[in-house]
Every structure is written in C-alpha cells, then in structure tokens.
Symmetry: C2
Subunit: 334 residues, 2 copies
Amino acid sequence: MAVTIKDVALHAQVSRSAVSRTFTDGASVSDKMRKKVEKSSDLLGYRPNLLARSLTTNRTKLIGLISNNYKNPFFFEIFDLFTRGLQDIGLRPLLVNLTNDEDPKACAELLAQYSVDAVIFMGSELHAGFSTAIRQKDIPVVHSFGRPADDVQVHTISVDDKQCGQVAAQTLLKLGYKSVGFIGGGSTMQVINDRLIGFETEIAKHPDIKFCKHFAGTHSFVAGRNTMQKILEKPHADAYFFSDDILSIGAISAIQDAGLSVPNDIGVIGMNNMEMAGWNNISLTTIHQPTAQIVSSTIELVEAIMEDQERHPETRLFSCMLVERSTLRSNPKN
Amino acid sequence: MAVTIKDVALHAQVSRSAVSRTFTDGASVSDKMRKKVEKSSDLLGYRPNLLARSLTTNRTKLIGLISNNYKNPFFFEIFDLFTRGLQDIGLRPLLVNLTNDEDPKACAELLAQYSVDAVIFMGSELHAGFSTAIRQKDIPVVHSFGRPADDVQVHTISVDDKQCGQVAAQTLLKLGYKSVGFIGGGSTMQVINDRLIGFETEIAKHPDIKFCKHFAGTHSFVAGRNTMQKILEKPHADAYFFSDDILSIGAISAIQDAGLSVPNDIGVIGMNNMEMAGWNNISLTTIHQPTAQIVSSTIELVEAIMEDQERHPETRLFSCMLVERSTLRSNPKN
DNA sequence: ATATATTTTGCAACCGATTGCAAAGTTGTT
DNA sequence: AACAACTTTGCAATCGGTTGCAAAATATAT
C-alpha cells in the first residue's frame, strides 16, 4: 500500500498535523520540524494523496476537458496546447469525449462526481443541456474555439468569426474574383454562421459580385470533397471560402480530380491555418486563428474563475490574420 | 455546496449506511428502503462523491492516459478510440502529455497522487524511468502501440512490427523492385527498429536486391520531406518503405516537387494506414495496423490487471494487413 | 405460538488528509 | 526573574463516503 501521512508521522515521531503542515504552503512550521518531517517523507517516499486532500480543501486541480471534435486534426493541435498548458500550472485534464452524442447531462453529472474544479469545452458547438447541467452544479465553464447558442450565458473565448469571414471576403474582392461562394460545415453551428455572416455582409457591399453558399454537413475531408464534386456538376463560382481548412483540402482534391486547377480555375481560401495547411503539397491560403493565445487566455480565465466563482460571463474575441499561400491567384485578373 | 450522503440520510430519515448501500451494487438493502432513499436522492439531486468513495474502496476509476505523440494525427485517431472505449465502461482518462520531455518521474508521482487505477501509455517509446517509477508505486501499466526497451517488463500490446516490415518487403519484391530503401523515424526506437529488422531480413534473402536505409529523426511531414530531398540529391532506390505514413506523405511531396512521379519513378509504401492515407489526393499504399482491436484489447487487459495485480507481464501482437492504393506500381516491371 | 434461520439496519470505526483552537514553547521587554 | 506577545505544536473534529459487526426485523419451520 502507499505510504500515508500516518506512516510519516509515526516515523518522524510528530503529529499528523505537523506532516500535513509541511506539505501545505503557507502553514506554520518551524525549520526544525520541517527538516525532521522531510527526512522521514523522503525516506518513506511519501506524497500527499490529492483526492483525500480535496475532501477538506474543496480543490481537486482536476479540469474537465471536453470536446466533440475528435475527427479534425486541427483539434489535435489544440489538444496538445491545452494539455501542456494545464499541466504546466499544476492542473490535470480529465477527458470527456462527446463525439458520439453521449448523453451530455450524464456526462456533466460525472464530472461533478469527480469534483472537477472547472470545465473547459473546446469546439464549435457547446450543447446547451450540457452547459446548464454543469453550471447548475456550480462548476465554472469556459467555452473556447466556439460560440454558444445565443441564449446561453457562458464564458467564451474564440476568434472573431465575423471578422474572419470579412477578411476572407476582402481578400477575394481585392484579387478581383467576381463570383464567390461560401462553403460551411453544419448550417446550424453558430461559429459557421458567424463566418458566413461576416463573409456575406462584406460581399453584399458589392452588388456586382455574385454570391452563393453550400453546406457540407460536417468538417471533414470527405465532406469537402463530396460537396465540391456536387458543385462542379453545374456552373460554379471562381473562388470559395471554406469554414474549415479540412473542407478546403477535400474540395481541392475534387477540383484537381475534375481536371481543373487551383488557383487557375478555382480559388480556395480556408479557415484555421491548421498545420497541414502549410505543407508544401497543400500550401493553402487561409485565415489564421491565434490558437496558442486562445488556449492560454482560456487557461488564465479558468484560473481566474476558480478564484472568483461569481465572475460575470465574459467574451474574449481574438483577431484573425490572413496567411497567403498558393490557392488564390496572386494578382487581380482584369 | 453539493448535496452529500448526510443530506439524503436526513431527508429520508435513515442512516448514512442505508444511503451508501443503495448506491453500491451488491449491498443488502430492502426494496422499501431503496425506494425511500431513491426518492430523497432524486429530489435532492444526490450523486455519490467518487473521490470520497475511493478513499475506502481504493478504486478511483481514473486511468492515466499518457502519450508523447501529439504531433502525429494518427495518434489522434487512437486518442478518440481510447477515450471513448474507456468512458464506455465507466473509466475516466486522466491525461498526461509527455511530448516535451517533461520529467517522467515527477509525472509518475503525480499519477500516484491521484490514485489512478492504472496507466495506459500509448506511443512507440515508453520511457524506462517512467515505467519503473509507476510500477514501483504498484500501479499497473499497459504499453500500447509500441514496444518498450528489452529490459523493461511491462504489458505490451501492439502490431507485429517485424511482420509489418516483412510484408512491406514482400510487397516490393513481388512488384519487382530491385533497389529498395527503408526510411525510419528515430534510429533508437524499438518499434522502428523492429520494422527495419523485418524489412531488411526479408530483403536479405534476395542477394540481388539493393538495400539502403535512412533515418528522418522523427515522424513528421517535414522530416519525411527533408529526408527525401536529401536522398534525391544522389542516385536513389526505386521504392521506399516508411516507418510511418506521415513520413511517406512528406516524402511524396518532395518527390513530386523534384519533378518525379509516384509511383512511376519512385514507389512508396507507408505504415499505419492513418485516415489521411485514404484521402483521394494521397491514396497511399500502406501497412494497416488494427488500431481498434489494439485499443479494445488494451482496455480489456487493463481491466483484467486491475482485478489481478499479480498478473505476469504479457505481450499481445496483432497481425498487419497490406492496403493497396496508388503509390506502388501495379505490375512487376520486367 | 415458539424457536430458528435469514435478511435488513444502524452504530461506529475507518479511509487520508486539513484545520480551528487551545496548550506548550520561544522570544523579547522590563 | 516575571510577564507579555508571538510562534509552534498536537488534539480532535471534519470532509464524504464505506463496511464489519451486532442488534433488530422479518421469514420459515415446527
């Protein structure tokens, strides 16, 4: 069995309180006592049991890390950032995979049973039932990389999706594209809708530009490819903005298979700037979201909320950035 | 504050034991009592605190899920499988990211402090210090998708790497390639070495075949691309077997940029059959590992070990399968 | 109805920690 | 040396549960 505080106390001939105090910072212990306890602890290999501790401190340092986006490699990058960021400050991510519509209510309950200090949801679509269930348990929630439905009050950190759409539109306009399209994942998702609004609003300022939109249903290679194949059966636009890089990559494969060229026949601009977008065989022009900043800001906010539970829900929006590569024409056509 | 067993006992006018018993299966409670308790619990919204429970049961249902492979999208697929598989049987993954050489000893200690019931390491290279540290704490470990160094005794579940190399070699031989190469990630990794051994041994049976090998240092697109670029500066083989799909994909981009064609000028066969390998614009011929089976077998083994800690370390090897796509010539050249 | 076997229940101790409080020990002042 | 002020320590209660044991309740046999 693992060595407990009792063993150390016995060995060092001191009270259990003394041992406890040397392991909680800010507690009052004399140097002499500390030395004595540390000697015994080292000898026996004692570490405080964090779960037992949590019983009295009401702090587990466990953070629920939830996502429903295990199919898009972009989220793996975010995963990496989150897990490292959390463990760097001594917090431990407890994972929940909501990919397959697992019951969000039950999942919220489970997190409560593990007394997580907070919950981070990463992904575009935060299930309303989940967030209310979790908040009802008084567990702080932060939603990152997405926007909740309008009626949900929750801390939100993401890129400015409308601006992303706007920048994409401006980029296409500047390059002289006359007929442009938007291709999104699901039509019901808030972030995708925002990107669409930003894009369409900007395009609408130029009545001579033709506009169309399509939805692929989900953010995946296959969805992008299939959607583009359908589009190519009829007359098409000369450039498309996609709500996710992975869609663009699928679409490009369809375009090329149809014997057309990117960017000569059709221009493509993606969204996210996932690592793959920079690969030389893809070289996707795309809108970059500052993932590292969003992640660290999320973690900071989580820390802050744990201190002050009453904090009012806040929204932090980050600016995007155009990353020019090779899937749009480089000069305005005239 | 959350509602506790005490609140329920008070409300239902029964003892705390009674409440506890209705929430632990196999305990002796009369139907009448159960109904009474359940009524109160439902009303108050009570769920047992799993961490408090763990104090007496010595079971947390927490499983440490460790990886040092957050850069290779193939592992995201495995991640998805593991997290879903675990939560399906009521276990919760506690994540540790070892990507950046975080101190494995400290990490092992941390997992012990959270009293995880077991640890799953997924990745090719299990740090010896880590595994001994964790086993010293009497926490069961299973290593999946990799092989530990020879001197480490630990439960191991993976594909038969030597066989993978062998199958790759046979495939190339059958298609009449006369000069073949092996391109691996790190030269020190056991799995890569095994793949090399399987490959080289098979090739060596045919003295007329030319053989060479290279190491890219790591499994990434860029590493594959750079390595191939170097190779192309001099006379090269006419087909290569890569120890990971992602290397192949990087290499293909280099080959194509050099104005050569896959498979006409150079054949490529990868390893893993990650989802991306099946994308139409890549269509990589590769060796498939049965990931779903490896994952579920790992989880089963973990459950078994938790029952019987004394179980002797065991190795489970799965067969691989060739997946033919478009990066090798389709008929023997003569 | 009584004796016996079986099931159900509550008491109290325990799991591994923390912490308020009062007693004991130090230090400084006069 | 006596006293006050402050620090350090241990006691005992507590966190939210589980569980062995004996008493109470119920079922079964005679």
